[in-house]
């Protein structure tokens, strides 16, 4: 319990609640259940691509193409639906598109050794261009009603999609804590060389991370298309950066080895909520980005300051330990290696 309270996820969640409560003193409409449900509903897309991004960042990588993958998947999804392919099969098409895109990234990064930022920046352009080539640059409209109905269906006034994503997250959280190979993501991100020497298949782990990032972007595409009912060319544009911001905000260190699925979920919720709160505060929407950026910057700098303080405390503890060791006439103490 103490561990949860001290976690970054909890800190951001607390900030989120405080923010909503603070805004409610200005505009009580925020606290209406429907408002909150709508905020969650509109954050589904970001939550999904952030979860994909989380796997990558956990292994100390980065994927700036997730937004473009979502866009391309949405186009394939829309085209499949318009071609009369049944909804479940079309969903599979979207997911497969995402998976393949992710695997292309993974191949370049893992097998060729291209730096992740370069590889995914390159495919960001390629996927986005491909999207335009496929559609000739025009939006995909007149998508069959089936997917749109799915999006507006509500149980207990909560949209079906929210239920679906929530279920996915819970299943995923359980799976992630049960499957042993998941620990490999942490191990590879935490200490790549160590993981390799322990016989962990580092390449397979990294490959899986990028493939999953693609797969979740495909899933995000389905949600997006359902929610807005057509596929504009900007689908997913700029979202890759928001996804990174979300996971970092939620506590996944870019140095790898930390983070949970809740980091991605809470980080994404936070960023979406910031956008919504601006409306309730009647702050012009133009300030959304500025606030999101300032929050991200503040969090990572704050995180750095905390880490530095912890390190200093550890150093002091080691020094005290050494002092004891001297009195015990015991040797073999290595403060330097231990601290660095």
């Amino acid at each position: 319990m103490k561990k949860i309270l001290k976690s970054r996820e909890f800190l951001v969640l607390a900030l989120l609640v405080v923010m909503i409560l603070a805004v409610s003193t200005v505009n009580a409409a925020v606290l209406r259940p429907l408002t909150l449900i709508n905020i969650v509903n509109s954050s589904l897309f970001l939550i999904l691509i952030a979860i994909g991004q989380m796997f990558v960042v956990m292994t100390r990588g980065i994927d700036v193409s997730v937004g473009a993958i979502a866009g391309l998947s949405a186009v394939i999804f829309g085209m499949a639906l318009n071609a009369g392919i049944p909804l479940p099969l079309a969903m599979v098409c979207a997911l497969l598109t995402g998976l393949v895109c992710g695997c292309v990234n993974a191949a370049g990064i893992v097998f060729v050794g291209i730096p992740p930022i370069i590889m995914t920046l390159g495919t960001l352009g390629a996927y986005r261009g491909l999207m335009r080539v496929l559609t000739g640059g025009s939006w995909i409209e007149s998508i069959p009603q089936s997917i749109k109905t799915l999006a507006v269906t509500r149980y207990m006034s909560v949209p079906l999609m929210v239920w679906a994503v929530a279920a996915l997250i819970i299943v995923l959280a359980i799976l992630l804590s049960r499957i042993k190979a998941v620990r490999n993501f942490y191990a590879v991100g935490d200490n790549r060389e160590g993981a390799y020497l322990l016989g962990i298949n580092v390449r397979a782990t990294e490959f899986t991370a990028y493939a999953l990032a693609g797969l979740f972007s495909g899933a995000a595409a389905i949600v997006f298309t359902g929610q807005i009912g057509f596929v504009p060319m900007q689908t997913g544009s700029g979202q890759e950066l928001k996804a990174i911001a979300a996971v970092v905000l939620g506590g996944v260190s870019l140095m790898g080895g930390t983070g949970t699925i809740w980091s991605a979920v809470i980080g994404a919720l936070f960023l979406t909520t910031v956008d919504s709160m601006m409306i309730f505060l009647k702050v012009p929407g133009s300030w959304n980005n500025a606030v999101a950026g300032a929050v991200l910057l503040a969090i990572v700098v704050f995180d750095y300051l905390i880490r530095r303080a912890v390190r200093n405390r550890q150093l002091a503890m080691r020094a005290a330990e050494m002092h004891h060791a001297e009195q015990d006439h015991d040797t073999g103490f290595q403060p330097r290696e231990a601290v660095r």
Binding site: G257, A319, D330, T331, F333, Q334, P335, E337
Partner: protein, 500 residues
């Protein structure tokens, strides 16, 4: 010892070669690890020990030669291949995942049922005396516990061959005794052990066979019981080694008027109340083992790390704010212990390392190729650096030449006093002699030199005065130059009989 009767080694290297970045590290090495025996692999830094370890554990592939596992040639393309064949390495610096729990650290990379693995890990940890909170993060473990974590990892993989890379270098005496017991137990189970160390008496006590490695070749291979420390020392020393003639006359001419470096009551977290003076033209030797605070002291004086209290005067002037840049400007240079991490710009032409120290002193003309070339050529001659051109990329140089390039970088600003931290670690004999010669030349020019080393022989050879660093305290040995025995006694006092 019936084990010798067993003709098939668990692991054997046959004529193994290894080349890195155009530098040949191993030149046809043969090694046999037999069941139920402990093989010691000895050698100075840079002799190729760690490369052999990495080849046996599957992290590196040999350039030429074969690895035999139980008599059949094997390819160890990946550490997991080695694990599958029952080979596990306990690295010198344990691979700990600081953010994962101790239990996760123990079981990382294991296949099979999680619960069963955890139970086995707990049992193995208990057996070997690792009693810690299994849920605490790995980053909070002490070094000794981290090492035990690695041994448990090996046991959990049912290793038939365990490689212990410098296992005792950071253990207390009690922990070493515990390790010795564990090794006996492992031997009884028929496990073969490869024991890497540079502590000679430990090698003779704990191992059955000894092989000595020098410059990538095996130069001695014999049962440990037939060897003495003197024989080991002789084997490890380079063939052309000879104790240099004492230059007594030079040493006597010194005038000790004004110190070039004065350290008064310096304290930080890792050392306390350190005071000493360095006079022009003398060599002060500071002897100390890893972890004694010697490097932390040097870095604090040079301005890398802050110190809590005390004063440093360089060439008679106090330095209110400390930074490497200020130290250099005041006439203090530093050759760091870790050459690759702190000393040399590996990816750049050597000349750019040589001139790097001059730049912050405002001498920007050395960014111009001609000036840079001339300066570097100067040092190439003076320090006898072997380079195909001043612009040869530093990565492709041998360790000794890299160290000379670092030395050139430190000397280029013309320091009044220079601190050398482990100046000959991992370099060959000739380069070592060149470094000593350079130190003597510097003292002749009136430069004050501090040599910090864990090699007692080195301190005895170069130092005019000796101080010993032990657990953060610096103690002077009275009188002039000291013998190896005198210095060892003081340096390792706490390790040996004196630890009462």
């Amino acid at each position: 010892m019936t084990a010798t009767a067993n003709p098939v080694p668990l692991v054997a290297l046959r004529d193994v070669w290894k080349v890195f970045e155009s530098v040949t590290v191993l030149r046809g090495v043969d090694i046999d690890i037999r069941p139920g025996r402990v093989l010691a692999l000895l050698g100075g830094n840079g002799s190729g020990k760690s490369t052999i370890v990495k080849i046996i554990s599957g992290a590196y592939q040999p350039t030429a030669g074969t690895i035999e596992v139980q008599g059949t040639p094997a390819v160890l393309a990946h550490p997991s291949d080695a694990h599958a064949k029952g080979i596990y390495m306990v690295p010198q610096e344990p691979h700990i995942f600081p953010n994962l729990s101790v239990m996760e650290n123990l079981t990382a990379g294991l296949k099979g049922d999680t619960a069963a693995n955890r139970a086995r890990a707990k049992a193995a940890a208990h057996e070997i005396g690792l009693d810690v909170d299994f849920d605490s993060p790995g980053g909070e473990l002490s070094i000794a516990s981290q090492q035990l974590v690695e041994i448990v990892r090996g046991l959990l993989r049912n290793a038939r061959v365990l490689i212990l890379d410098e296992p005792t270098s950071s253990l207390t005496r009690r922990e070493v005794a515990n390790l010795a017991r564990q090794m006996e137990q492992l031997k009884a189970r028929g496990i073969g052990l490869l024991f890497i160390s540079h502590r000679l008496n430990e090698v003779l006590e704990l191992t059955d066979d000894t092989q000595v490695l020098r410059d990538g070749r095996i130069v001695l291979n014999a049962p440990s019981s037939e060897l003495t420390t003197d024989m080991l020392v002789e084997a490890m020393l380079p063939a052309d080694f000879s104790a240099p003639a004492e230059e007594v006359s030079l040493r006597e001419r010194r005038t000790h008027d004004h110190s070039v470096l004065s350290v008064r009551n310096l304290s930080s977290r890792l050392f306390r109340d350190v005071s000493f003076e360095v006079y022009p033209g003398e060599v002060l030797g500071i002897s100390g083992v890893v972890g004694s605070g010697r490097t932390e002291l040097a870095e604090a004086i040079y301005g890398i790390d802050p110190f809590v209290s005390g004063e440093v005067h360089i060439a008679g002037k106090a330095a209110p704010r400390r930074s490497p840049q200020i130290s250099q400007a005041m006439g203090l240079s530093y050759v760091p212990e870790d050459r690759h991490a702190h000393g040399i710009f590996l990816a750049l032409p050597s000349s750019q390392t040589v001139t790097a120290g001059l730049l912050s002193l405002g001498r920007s003309r050395f960014t111009q190729r001609d000036h840079e070339k001339l300066l570097t050529q100067d040092f190439i001659q003076r320090l006898r650096i072997k380079l195909s051109s001043p612009f040869q990329v530093a990565r492709t140089l041998s360790g000794g030449n890299q160290q000379k390039v670092v030395l050139a970088k430190t000397l280029a600003p013309g320091p009044r006093v220079i601190i050398l931290d482990e100046p000959t670690r991992g370099i060959d004999a000739r380069a070592r002699q060149d470094v000593y010669r350079t130190i003597r030349e510097l003292t002749a020019e009136g430069v004050g030199v501090v040599v910090i080393s864990s090699e007692v022989g080195e301190i005895a050879e170069v130092a005019d005065r000796v101080m010993v660093m032990r657990r953060g305290r610096l103690v002077a040995l009275p009188g002039g130059p000291k013998t190896v025995e005198q210095i060892s006694a003081a340096t390792f006092a706490a390790n040996g009989a004196a630890a009462a």
